[in-house]
């Protein structure tokens, strides 16, 4: 399938990680300096940190409870007089608090689903790539098969079957997103396993599992980090699609996706219910993408030219 393509896409990383570094100054230091030079990435990191702080501590600073329905102010536009600085929704709940608390869910969905997909993807890909041969062929065949399943449809089916428990959303999304990761990691491992230091380790009699654990996986870290920053926004978006289809998180909890989906229904009559969560969602996705780009550039010396 597209494995060839993946390997191709990974060339830069190979150069950066697998082959270039065996000895000498830490490439991580180099990468760090390069990252700091990328202004977009640095700003994004600061903004992201700010958003995370806001999302974690913000709701404590606001006097409204996220599930408090203020009957005197239903669907009111932003105003200082009402105390709802960013307006209220159709049952009088404060949009800002809901957006911040929704952010917790969205970021958590992103993070946990990504971790799930990492755990499965990295170990699966590393094992397939390292052992090669029949094991590799069978394992990648399985990936190919799963790849052909219409992914969104299965998420929908899973939500229908198991109800919409929030943990399930994490697991369902993560369980499907590991495929890309597995392929990329496998490709990377394939090229790593013939590197001198691995061959040397083998010659010294280090066991297969130790090699995977101590040598292969650490060398995949840079690649994995880049992908994490790219997968998180993807997952947040997928969650928002599910919310749009009415299969997202459970009230009174919310997520950015769910809030945006609600707000999009009333974009003319109550634009603030769309704009406030959209800004958070969009800025966050932007930041992750910029940070991801920055990381990739930093870890890829070719791009310095």
């Amino acid at each position: 399938m597209t494995k060839i393509a993946d390997i191709q896409a990974i060339d830069p990383f190979e150069a950066a990680l697998g082959v270039s570094d065996v000895k000498g100054r830490s490439p991580w230091e180099d990468a760090w300096h390069r990252l700091l030079k990328n202004r977009a990435a640095v700003y994004s990191a600061f903004i992201m940190a700010f958003i995370i702080l806001l999302v974690v501590f913000g709701p404590m600073l606001i006097s409204w409870e996220s599930d408090f329905t203020d009957w005197d102010y239903t669907s009111t536009p932003p105003s200082f007089a009402s105390g709802h600085w960013f307006g209220t929704d159709s049952v009088g709940r404060d949009i800002l608090v809901r957006t911040l608390e929704g952010g917790r869910i969205s970021l958590m969905v992103g993070l946990v689903a990504t971790i799930v997909s990492l755990l499965i993807g990295v170990s699966y890909g590393a094992i397939a790539g390292y052992f090669g041969g029949v094991a590799d062929r069978v394992m990648m065949r399985v990936v190919d098969i799963i790849y052909a399943l219409p992914f969104m449809f299965f998420v929908i089916l899973l939500m229908v079957v198991f109800g919409r428990h929030i943990v399930l959303i994490f697991v369902a999304i993560g369980a499907i997103n590991w495929l890309d990761m597995a392929r990329i990691v496998r490709g990377q491992t394939l090229s790593l396993k013939n590197a001198e230091f691995i061959v040397a380790a083998k010659a010294c009699g280090v066991g297969d599992w130790d090699i995977i654990r101590r040598h292969i996986i650490p060398n995949l870290l840079g690649l994995v980090m880049v992908y994490v920053t790219l997968i998180i926004p993807q997952v947040i978006l997928i969650e928002s699609f599910l919310s749009f289809l009415g299969l997202g998180v459970q009230e009174p909890m919310s997520s950015w996706g769910a809030l945006v989906a609600d707000g999009a229904q009333d974009m003319e009559s109550a634009p603030w219910t769309l704009i406030v969560p959209s800004v958070f969602l969009t800025v966050t996705l932007y930041c992750f993408n910029f940070i991801g780009d920055g990381l990739r550039d930093a870890l890829d010396p070719k791009d310095r030219l």
């Binding site: 098969i145 399943l149 929908i156 079957v161 996706g257």
Partner: protein, 309 residues
């Protein structure tokens, strides 16, 4: 190569079998049945309905009955849309979905690569930042926000385009196609930019420059093909993205494509319809991935299948 193609096509069968089995099980495990509704049916009537769709048989019986039907391309009657068979429904949905999907893919490819190349050639200038920044909007704002905004602006306010619905007119396709293509355009643009930059810094381009070839010729002759390779390999996942995106787009624009059949079918427990759509999409994704690989091999002479297997 031919042998490989044959292998790939034969590989379709176990994939499909697994697809059918998983979807079949998931649908039957899902709580509720196709005939549950707000107004409860008397048991006699429900028994009549179950008998009509063979839902009174045991699960393995139903499963093998279904496999037998699929083998002769009979997907049975739709439970929800009682006047139509699943095959008729899918046959009506395919042209719609594939028109939108292919048009969006084409648009995304052309626009995405153009944007990406432009940005790459002006790397780190303001134009580059602007293009990529705006392009990222496509990935950062969900379809279901962009679509209603476009409808409001271009259909309701300006009155240039219809506000949803489907009549096979070009006008009714514009907005769905554009919205569907946006995220993919953005991805392709980023991908193209990255690979273009890489190619432009590679040794063979440098030597071409050293030979004094004009820049436009270098780009066209030498840089374009290798720069597009990652884009081609992205087309597989892009198809999948389009399919999931189309579920949303079809709903917002009220388009009678396959994606909305699936969602409706799953929610209404229309077992036969869901299975039909899943099978169709499974086949479509496999075939498209295969085609993408062929194109890739054609573009990149270094790649031969036997090397990688």
């Amino acid at each position: 190569m031919a042998r490989h193609s044959l292998q790939r096509l034969l590989g379709l069968i176990p994939t499909l079998l697994m697809l059918i089995t998983v979807a079949f099980l998931l649908m039957r495990v899902a709580p509720g049945g196709p005939f549950d509704s707000d107004k409860l049916l008397p048991p006699d009537i429900e028994a009549n309905l179950n008998a009509k769709y063979h839902l009174d048989e045991s699960l393995p019986q139903q499963y093998f009955r279904y496999l037998g039907q699929v083998a002769v391309l009979d997907f049975g009657p739709s439970i929800q849309y009682k006047d139509w068979t699943v095959r008729e429904l899918i046959a009506q949905g395919i042209p719609v979905s594939s028109t939108i999907g292919l048009a969006a893919m084409l648009l995304a490819f052309v626009l995405g690569t153009t944007l990406g190349i432009t940005a790459a050639l002006k790397q780190n200038t303001r134009a580059d930042y602007l293009l990529m920044g705006v392009g990222m909007l496509g990935i950062s704002i969900p379809n279901f926000v962009i679509a209603p905004i476009l409808i409001l602006l271009l259909a309701v306010y300006a009155g240039w385009l219809p506000a949803g619905g489907w009549d096979w007119g070009i006008a009714s396709m514009v907005l769905p196609v554009v919205t569907l293509s946006l995220p993919v355009t953005a991805y392709i643009a980023r991908l193209t930019r990255a690979s273009m930059i890489e190619v432009m810094h590679s040794n063979f381009i440098r030597s071409a420059r050293a030979k004094g070839l004009p820049e436009s010729l270098i780009i066209r002759r030498h840089a374009l093909r290798p720069a597009l390779l990652p884009v081609i390999s992205f087309l597989g996942p892009a198809t999948a993205a389009m399919i999931s995106g189309s579920v949303v787009i079809e709903r917002i624009f009220s388009i009678p494509g396959l994606g909305s059949y699936f969602v409706q079918g799953a929610l209404n427990r229309d077992y036969t319809l869901v299975m039909g759509v899943v099978i169709f999409y499974g086949v479509a994704i496999i075939v498209l991935n295969f085609l993408v690989d062929l194109v890739y091999a054609w573009l990149n002479p270094r790649v031969r299948y036997d090397q990688n297997r």
